[in-house]
Symmetry: none
Subunit: 219 residues, 4 copies
């Protein structure tokens, strides 16, 4: 009986520099959707395979195990977000304008790809330690650091108050976005199925709240 591979010349099963097998992609996309819909633990391999229209076992051909799959989902989504944040940071505009862009960007993405955002935002810290210990935590931290960097630069230029801790400020800003999104998802804000205009209005509100603060006068 011929063994699997006479010489193992690696005919091609390797991710072949850059070009990713189409089915791998399908699985990843499916995972995002299922993940978003059912959460980390509710997301079963069978669901992902069915959603992707591939055979059960193929998932294990491309991913070591469930954790690696979901870790990949996280990583990919975060990478997209990080790239966007980085683009904003290295782009034009004052720090305050950049931070406003961050708010708008996330809520904008939600409008077009709510699943991805849910995965990104709502599932952080929900995954098991194994995940958190992995790249996810790092990328999450990276996002906070990136935003805190914008804050720090704003402090240098005098746009942002010096007394604020950039990291805490970044956390507050991202947290404000997150819970606004949660409110949206749960239907507490914006109603059961918010219109695009409504979401735009919420964007403006979040920006105003976070940048300007609640108080009408400075103490």
């Amino acid at each position: 009986m011929p063994h699997r591979n006479s010489r193992r010349t690696n005919p091609r099963p390797r991710p072949e520099e850059g070009s990713e097998p189409e089915k791998r992609r399908a699985i990843l996309h499916a995972a995002v959707r299922v993940f978003a819909a059912k959460g980390y633990h509710g997301c079963r391999i069978a669901d992902v395979a069915r959603q992707a229209g591939v055979a059960y076992g193929l998932v294990y051909h491309y991913f070591q195990n469930k954790d690696e799959l979901l870790e990949s989902v996280f990583a990919e989504q975060w990478t997209i977000l990080l790239n966007a944040l980085e683009a904003i940071r290295s782009g034009p505009g004052t720090s305050l304008e950049q931070l406003a862009s961050v708010c708008r960007f996330v809520l904008d993405v939600f409008r077009t790809a709510p699943d991805a955002v849910r995965v990104l935002i709502l599932e952080v810290a929900r995954a098991p330690d194994s995940l958190r210990a992995g790249s996810t935590r790092q990328t999450f931290e990276a996002a906070v650091r990136l935003v805190s960097e914008m804050v720090r630069r704003g402090q240098e230029t005098g746009e942002i108050r010096h007394e604020l801790d950039p990291m805490v400020t970044a956390a507050c800003l991202l947290g404000a976005i997150e819970l606004t999104l949660t409110g949206l998802v749960l239907g507490i804000l914006g109603g059961p199925s918010p219109s695009e205009q409504e979401i735009e209005r919420l964007e403006g509100q979040v920006v105003a709240t976070v940048l300007g603060g609640l108080a009408s006068t400075r103490r």
Copy 2:
């Protein structure tokens, strides 16, 4: 003949009508801890029973099933928080002072009972729909509304900017708190095991950020 006592002639210290059985309480407490440590799906009945020091089956004596148990946990924790928020709202102080108190209160509780806070904050929206559809969503919404009410009153007294939407503002405030807590839990803020002083500092930072906003000058 001396009757045992004025009203309650219960010969044996029976589960004292109306008062909650001690073991039920133990199970609930254990559930909070396990829940916080492992999340909704990672939380197994066996863990809860062991943690509570009771037999497996007893959990099912007091609770219909896993969902009802965890729903109870949610309900209890939220009730505690809601009561505290309500106490703050109906207490003394200006609206801004009250909102500052809210920030401080949650972070304070975290210092003394991090598990409860994790359950409360980190698990919202993570539970299955059955839970979200239940009392949890309502109480979550209640919390947002309570805070938004404080905001609204602050707008009436002129302390808080009129252009802000109270609900969005409340969501931002609670979100800022939440992600700061998440940062604490993950060790991104305050280091691996933050001192009480460090947490106090973070409290001040969050209050300053949220109430005063990021911008050093108003547009």
Copy 3:
């Protein structure tokens, strides 16, 4: 400590020589009903206790365990049947008349106490070996023997064909009754809720079929 009851002149709860405690009786009655409704394995102690209106533990006060309880139910029901069969046997009438009475008796009882009959007839051989090994098998066999005795006597008087094996004949007769009852219970015979008249008609049919046989002419 004051004892339970200053006077407590034993109003009656004592087993009072020979007289069976009222609650024991209630449990037994309840067991018959539950047993009939749910079958041996579907019958839970909790159901019996609730149906009897007594506390859980009391069942174990009067009966060693579930098997003993259900064995008691069997024994009691069979005893009633055996006594009736014996009364018929030692009573007046030819053998054929007696056997007709047996048919009528069982179907009659069904009319007034279908539960008891179901337990008696439908549950034989369904119970675990432990039960079958016990008195149930013996009483079941006793019933067959009793009927076969009537058959034997009929053969002696020439009423019944000599070529028949009394035991097989008895089994056939009881079997005919049983499946007719099953048909009644399942609604295949007599419709969903048969009238008394309908049951009477079935009685006559069974008697005619069993005693006279199917064939219109003897070979």
Copy 4:
């Protein structure tokens, strides 16, 4: 290029489109045996899997749950019986001969496959309502109807007494067979392990009893 096969050169014994997977069959067979040995409620999935020599989970690969498995067992066995009855009915012979064949057939099958018969005969009406409501009740009724049809035809040809109700007669006949089998199973008839000859003798006895009736003379 050699086409797949002349008839059966299947390189891999794949589940052969359309044909039933071999292991599914093994599970079904095992279920019959375990079912017969322990009854509906005593029959555990683990037993079936072990008996079939397959892994626990495979049972759930082929069957939704325990009820569906046992329903399948019922359905299959009844189908076999129904087919046999139908074959007898549409075959040659007078009605009386056909009915005699029915008696002989069932007792014959018992000789070669006692398990299947036990399942078929002894477990009817013992299963939970869910089962009874399903195909089982219908097929049971179908069997009674099939036999009653033979009776009716016998009445038309004058072989069978006109005064008998075909349905009741059919029930009596099948009941006679059933309780004779029960007697066999319990060792009340034919002794602990009856020889084939003994069973043949019982067959004759049952036929004689049912067809000819008990009475030696017609009233």
